[in-house]
Amino acid sequence: MTDPNAIKNNPFKELGEIPSLKYNGEYTVENLQVEVRDGTKIAITVCLPKDLKSNEKLPTVLIQTRYWRAMELRIPFRWIFDEAVSMTPNPDIITSRGYAFIITDVRGTGASFGTRLYPFSEEEVKDGYDIVEWIISQPWSNGKIVSKGISYTGTTAELFAANKHPAIKAVMPGHGFWDPYTDVAFPGGVYDHAFMELWSFLGKNLDLNNPKVFRQIMPEAWVFVRGVKPINSDVDLKLLERAKELHSKNEYVFDNTQDKSFRDELLPDGTGIDDISVFRRKIRIEESKIPMLIWCSWYDSGYCDAAIHKFLNLNNSMIVILGDWNHGASLPANQFHPERLAVTPTPRERIHAWMNFFDKCVFANGIKNKILYYYTMVEEAWKKTTKWPPEGSEFKRLYFNENFELTFSPPTNEQGIDEYKVNYRASSGRNNRWYALLGLPIIYQDREKEDKRLLCYISSPFNEDREITGQVIVNLFVSSTHSDGALFVYLEDVDEEGRVTYITDGEFRLIHRKVSDTPLYKILIPYHSYKKEDMLPLIPGEINEIKFALHVTSVLIKKGHRLKVAIAGCDKDTFNRYPSEGRPVINLARNEQNASYIELPIIKRRNE
C-alpha cells in the first residue's frame, strides 16, 4: 500500500478531488440480451440512476467480463440485495457520478450465448463495437462511452479501443497484459502451469454455471452466490441452460498450452498466442486516438512490464500508474511494509479518481501527451516522468565474485566457478506474483530460509541511498550437465539486522538464450524471440552467456543495506520443471574471462 502521506506527485491527488455528485447513488438494474452481428446473444446488465429524468442523457461506463457480469445471489441474500451488490465496482459510485453502468458477459461465458476457443478473439473484440451501437441507440445515452477494467476486463477495455468507434472516449485498462506469452503464460519462456491450470479450472466452472468452484477458491463468494444472473425474461432458466450447452464446447488455455514451449505454436483454429495480444492490435489502438489510463503494480506477474511496454509502444495520450499493491489493488503488497493492512487509496477513492479521468475525456478536452507515475518503495514516494527510463537513469554493474560476493569491480581471478546442483524443492510459495493473478495476497516473507536452497551472492553494505528504477539485467556465464533448464533469479534487500526482503525476480528457460535484434515491439532489455526456429539447447559442459531481465521495479536501497541475488533452478509451486527429468548441476562462471554480472538501473541523484 502506498504511504498515505506521499502526497507529492501522487496521481490520485493529481486526478482531482471528488466533485459534487450528480445523482443520489440509487440505481435501477435491468438484465437483458443484445444480439450482435452474427446472431450471438450477449447478456448485459444495465444500471441507471434511479433519479434520472426522462429527458436526461448520460455517458456510459462499459465493462466486458468473462467472470459473470452479475451474480444470482443465494437466498436469503437475494431477498435483500440486488445482484449489483456483488459487482466491483459497485454501480452506486458510477451512477452517482452521472454515468450509466453496463456490464456484459463476453461471448461463450456467463449468460451469453456462443462458444469460445480462446480469450480475446477478434469476434469477442468486435462484439464491443455492436454493444456500442446498441448503447448509443438508447434514449438515455448521450452517445459517449468509456470502458474500464482490471485484469481480463482491463484487457477487454484496452482492445475495445481497437474497434475505433467514434463514441469511445477513453479506456482504462488496469493490470492487463501486453504480450500474453511473456507477461503471463510463459514468462522468460517458462510455463506458468499453476496460474494457467487454476484459471482454466475457474473459467470452465464459471462457463458451466457451477458455483461449486467458489467453495474451493473463493469461499465468501460461495456462501453468497448461487450462479450467474439470468436475464430478466429467463424465468424458467431455459436461456441459461442453452447458454450452458453452448459453453460446453468451449476450450481452455491450459489444455491448449500445457504441452507447448514456443511462441509460434498454435492455438485452436490456427490462431497464435500473439494474435490475442494487445501489441498485435497496436496500430488499430493508435488509430483510435483514444486516451488511456493504464495502471498496475510492481508485484503483478509480468503485467508490470506490460505497463512499461504500453508506455513505450503506444502513441495514444496516456497516464500510466505503477504502485505497490496486489493484482487489482484490493490489498497492499509492499514487502517492506507487511504491517500495512489496508490499501491506499481505498477502492472507492480510487474509482472516484478513475471517474475524474473519464470526466476529463467525456466532458472536457481529455488529456495530452504521456505521463508515467511510479511509486518508489522504501523511499515511499511518488514520482512522475514523461520518459522511460526516467531522467538520470544509468546502469551500474554488480559482478559475481569470490566468496559469494557481489562487487562493483569485476573479478580478477582466472578460474572462478561456483557449482549449484538444482534443488527441485525450491519455491517462491503460493502467494507470489503469479498466484496473485487470482486475487490472492502477495507474501514473500523473509526469504532467508528459502535462500538456503539457492545459490546466493551478496554485496557489501551500500555507502549511500541508491534508487533502483527499471529492469535489472542479468548476464550470466553458465554451463550445465543438461541441455535444458531454467534459472530463477531473485533480487533481495538485506538490512542491517540481516532481514531479507524480496524486491523483484525474473525467470528464464535456457533453450531460449539466443538474443534477437528484431523484437516484435520496442523493448529495453535483451530480446528473445521464443520461437522454435531460434531454440538453442545447451551443450552440456560448455559455458554459455545467458542474458535476460528481471521484472520492473522501483526501490530505494538504503545506506547500510546490502543487495542479494539468489539463483534457483526451479520454482516448484508455480512453473514447469526443466528438464522434466534429471537434476542438472549448473556452474556459474565468475572469472576474468567469463565475468557474470547484473546491471542495476540506478537513478543518479540531482547533485551527481
Binding site: 437466498i75 431477498w79 445482484e83 459497485n90 456462501v223 453468497f224
Partner: protein, 120 residues
C-alpha cells in the same frame, strides 16, 4: 466490496423478512416485503438455505409452496418433531448467515467445512 454490506445486513433482514409460525398447521410462512431482486426461490433453494444456514443435517419431508406474486413461501411438515426442527432452524438462520459471511470475509473458512455438498 462485499464487506460494505455487512453492517446493514441484519437490519435489512429484519426489515424485509417476516416469519409467521402456525403450529396447529405444522407450517411456517416466510414473507418478503418490498422489492424482490429475482425469483423468490428456485426448486431446492429452501432446502439448501436450511442446510447451509439453519444447520439442518437431517432430511425430512417438507412441502414448499412458493407464491411469487404474494412474495411468500410456505413450508409445511408432517409431524411435530419435524416442526420443532424447522422452527429451531429458523430461529438461528439469519444470525448464522451473517456470522458465516462475516467470518469468511475475515479469512476464517472453517465455518463452512462441515456443510455437506449442496450444489448440483
Amino acid at each position: 466490496m462485499m464487506e460494505e454490506i455487512l453492517p446493514t445486513l441484519k437490519e435489512k433482514i429484519q426489515e424485509k423478512i417476516h416469519i409467521k409460525e402456525d403450529e396447529s398447521n405444522l407450517s411456517l410462512t416466510i414473507t418478503i416485503s418490498g422489492t424482490l431482486f429475482g425469483k423468490i426461490a428456485y426448486l431446492g433453494e429452501i432446502e439448501t438455505m436450511l442446510v447451509m444456514f439453519g444447520g439442518l443435517n437431517r432430511d425430512f419431508p417438507k412441502h414448499v409452496s412458493v407464491n411469487e406474486e404474494a412474495q411468500t413461501i410456505e413450508i409445511r411438515v408432517e409431524n411435530q418433531a419435524d416442526y420443532l426442527l424447522l422452527q429451531t432452524a429458523f430461529k438461528k438462520i439469519w444470525d448464522n448467515a451473517i456470522f458465516m459471511f462475516s467470518e469468511i470475509l475475515k479469512g476464517n473458512f472453517d465455518v463452512i467445512k462441515d456443510i455437506p455438498e449442496i450444489d448440483d
